[in-house]
Symmetry: C2
C-alpha cells in the first residue's frame, strides 16, 4: 500500500470510526481500523461486530494494498499533522509509515487478514430519507432510549411505517425508557421493508446521527433478517438489530386532554435550569403548579434550600398541581427547537403529552412523579 491522502479527509475518516471501535476490545481487531487502498481511493472499515462502518475517501493510490492499525492511535497522529497532504506506505513487518512535512511516524499494524470478515448482507427492499430528516428522527428520540441494556424491549428504537390522512408515507421512530416516550416521524420514499419488529440499538442511533453531514443528503435504509444498512454513495453502516418486543405504546397516548398549556421555550428552559440546581440531589423532582396565566415551579432540598420560578403560560382548563422529573423536560427541550411547547394534561398522576405547535410529526410523553 502506498498512497497520498489529504490530511483533512484522513482526519474525517478516522474521526468517524472513533465511535465505532471499542476502547477496551476483547480482540485487538475491534480497536483497529482496516485500511484498504484501491483504485482511486482509501476504504476505512471499523467494527465492534454489532456495528460496522465502511467508508471511501479520495486518495492518490500509487500501489494498492491493505493493513489494519489502531484507530485511536492513528487518529491522534493524524490530528497532530500540520501539512495538507499525508503519505501512507506499508513497511515490512505489518508496519505503516505516515509522512507529512517534517513529521514521520511508523505505526505497528496487523495483517488485513486478521481483521474480522464483514457480515454478509441480505437486504430486501429499501427506503430513502433525507439527511436532515434522519438526523431529526434520531435527535427527537435518542434521549429516551433506556440506558440499561438489560431492559428488554426498551434498549433501542422501534421503527414502523404509517400513512398520514393526506396519504404521505412516513417512517415513525418511537423510544421509551418506561418513564417517558418520544415519537418522531419523517416522510420517506421507497419500501419500508422491515420484516419482523426489531429495535435499532442506542449506539447505532448515535453513530448515524454523527454520520449525517448535510440536510440534503439522500440516505438509503434497508433491512435484512436481523440487520439494517444505512448508506450514502460513499459510506455504509451495517447495524445488527436487537431482538425485543417494544411495548404497546399507543395505550399511553391519551386522546382527550382536560387541560392544555402553552409555554415559551426560552423562559421555560431557563426556569427549569434554575430549579434543577436545587432539585438535582433527590430524584430531580420539581413541583409544577399550572395556574391560569403562569406555571410555578418549585423544588426543595434538605441540604441546599428552596427554589421557586414562574413562567408565563396560557392554561386552558382547571389549575393543576403535580410533579415531574425536571431532567425529562430538560432532555426534551435540548432535543427540540420550537419556540413554544404545548403541554396536554389530564390529571395529577396521568401522563403529560408534549407537542410542538405547528408540527404534527413529533410527540412526547412524560410520566408524572408522586409528590411526597
Amino acid at each position: 500500500m502506498d498512497l497520498y491522502i489529504e490530511r483533512d479527509e484522513l482526519i474525517r475518516g478516522l474521526g468517524r470510526v472513533q465511535g465505532i471501535v471499542e476502547r477496551r476490545p476483547t480482540t485487538q481487531a475491534l480497536s483497529h481500523v482496516l485500511l484498504q487502498a484501491r483504485d482511486g481511493g482509501l476504504t476505512m472499515t471499523a467494527t465492534d461486530t454489532a456495528l460496522t462502518l465502511v467508508a471511501q475517501y479520495p486518495a492518490r493510490v500509487e500501489e494498492p494494498g491493505e493493513l489494519s492499525v489502531d484507530a485511536a492511535h492513528f487518529f491522534q497522529i493524524a490530528r497532530s499533522l500540520a501539512e495538507p497532504t499525508v503519505h501512507l506506505q506499508t513497511q515490512p513487518g505489518n508496519r505503516m509509515s505516515v509522512r507529512c512535512g517534517s513529521a514521520e511516524f511508523t505505526i505497528h499494524g496487523m495483517a488485513a487478514e486478521e481483521f474480522p470478515p464483514l457480515a454478509t448482507r441480505d437486504d430486501r427492499s429499501s427506503l430513502t430519507v433525507s439527511g436532515g430528516d434522519l438526523r431529526r428522527l434520531i435527535e427527537e428520540t435518542l434521549f429516551s432510549v433506556s440506558p440499561d441494556d438489560n431492559r428488554y424491549g426498551l434498549n433501542g428504537a422501534h421503527l414502523e411505517e404509517l400513512t398520514t390522512d393526506k396519504g404521505q408515507s412516513r417512517i415513525r421512530v418511537v423510544t421509551t425508557d418506561g418513564s417517558r416516550l418520544s415519537v418522531s416521524e419523517a416522510p420517506f420514499s421507497g419500501q419500508f421493508g422491515m420484516g419482523r419488529r426489531m429495535l435499532l440499538p442506542r449506539k447505532a442511533l448515535g453513530e448515524i446521527k454523527k454520520l449525517v453531514e448535510a440536510d440534503g443528503e439522500a440516505w438509503r435504509v434497508s433491512f435484512g433478517e436481523n440487520s439494517s444498512t444505512f448508506s450514502t454513495p460513499s459510506l455504509t453502516l451495517m447495524v445488527r438489530l436487537i431482538d425485543g418486543e417494544f411495548p404497546n405504546y399507543r395505550q399511553v397516548l391519551p386522546t382527550s386532554p382536560r387541560r392544555t398549556v402553552r409555554v415559551p421555550r426560552e423562559a421555560f428552559s431557563a426556569a427549569l435550569k434554575r430549579v434543577a440546581i436545587v432539585a438535582s440531589d433527590r430524584n430531580h423532582s420539581v413541583r409544577f403548579a399550572f395556574e391560569p396565566d403562569q406555571l410555578v415551579l418549585t423544588a426543595d432540598n434538605v441540604d441546599l434550600g428552596h427554589a421557586r420560578e414562574t413562567v408565563p403560560a396560557e392554561l386552558q382548563g382547571e389549575p393543576l398541581f403535580t410533579g415531574f422529573n425536571v431532567r425529562y423536560f430538560q432532555d426534551l427541550l435540548a432535543a427540540t427547537r420550537s419556540d413554544q411547547l404545548q403541554l396536554e394534561l389530564i390529571d395529577v398522576l396521568e401522563p403529560c403529552i408534549v407537542r410542538l405547535p405547528e408540527r404534527d410529526d413529533a410527540l412526547f410523553v412524560v410520566m408524572p412523579m408522586r409528590l411526597d
Copy 2:
C-alpha cells in the same frame, strides 16, 4: 442583611472563592463563603486555613448584616440567574433569599460567628509589583513546583531579592521539582521584607495568578513571621508560608556552555507535540540529536511504533545526542511566549539551560535523561 448587587459582580466574587474553598472540607465553614454587608459594599471571605481571601464588591446595602453560605452552591445559583440585579436578604433560621427576575432561591446558611476567625497579620514592610509582572513571575515558575507535598523544600516557590548590574531592584522567584528548575524575575519598588526563607505554596501561586485581572494593577506584597499578604485596594489574600529549605539552586546553573542552539518556538512546539504521541507511554523520553542546522527528535514505543521530527536549528559547537522528558519542554513552552528559545548545552548528561532571547529575567534548567 439586605442588599442589591450586580449579578456580574456577584459571579466574579463567587468565582474567585471557588479555588480557595475546599471541596471535601473537614469542617463545613471551609466550604463556605462569609458574606458581610457593610457601608456601600459586600465583603466575601473564604479560607482553607492556609489561604484566606477577603474581597469587597460594590453593592447597595439596605441593611448591614452577615451570614455564611456554601460557596459552590451559591456560585451555581448566581451563574444561573438571568437579570442584571440580584437581591440578597437574610431570613430567619440562618437562611438567605436570592431574588433575581422571576427566580427566587432560599439557601440554608450558617451564622457568621461559626466562620473561622481570620489570622492576625504581622506584616512588616512591603513591596509593590505590577499585576502583569506578578502574573508572569508565577506563570514562568508554577509548572516546575513539585506536585508532591511531601518533597521537603520543593513544594513551593522560593523568593529572594537581587539588584541587577544596572542597579534595578528585582524580586526573583525560583521553583524546582528536582528534574527541572525555573527562575523568573521582575522589578519591584519598596522593601522586600521577607524575614527567614520560606516557600510560597503551590495553591497560593495558582490563586494569585487567577486574581490578577490587569497588567497595570499595583499589587502590594508584604511578609510577616510565617505569612505573606498579597493585596490590591479591593482584595487581600493572606498566605501561610511553608517552612522548608529550598535547595542551593545556583550550583545547577552552569556558566560556560559548550554548545548553544537557537530553535523557533512554533516549529519546536509542533514537533514536540507529535513525538510526544509516541513517547507518552514510557517516561516521556525523547531523543534529541543536535546537528549543525537541525534538531532531530525521535521517540520509540514498543506498542505504538516510532516517530521522527526535524526542527530547523542553529547550532554553535559540536553536535550532541542526548535525551529529555518531552513534557518538561512542553510545559516550558506553554509557560513562555518568546518566538525563539536558546538552548545551552554542555554535554550528554549535563543539564540544559533554556533562555528566552532578549530577556535577561527568566531562565530554565532541564535535566537530561539517560537513554537506554
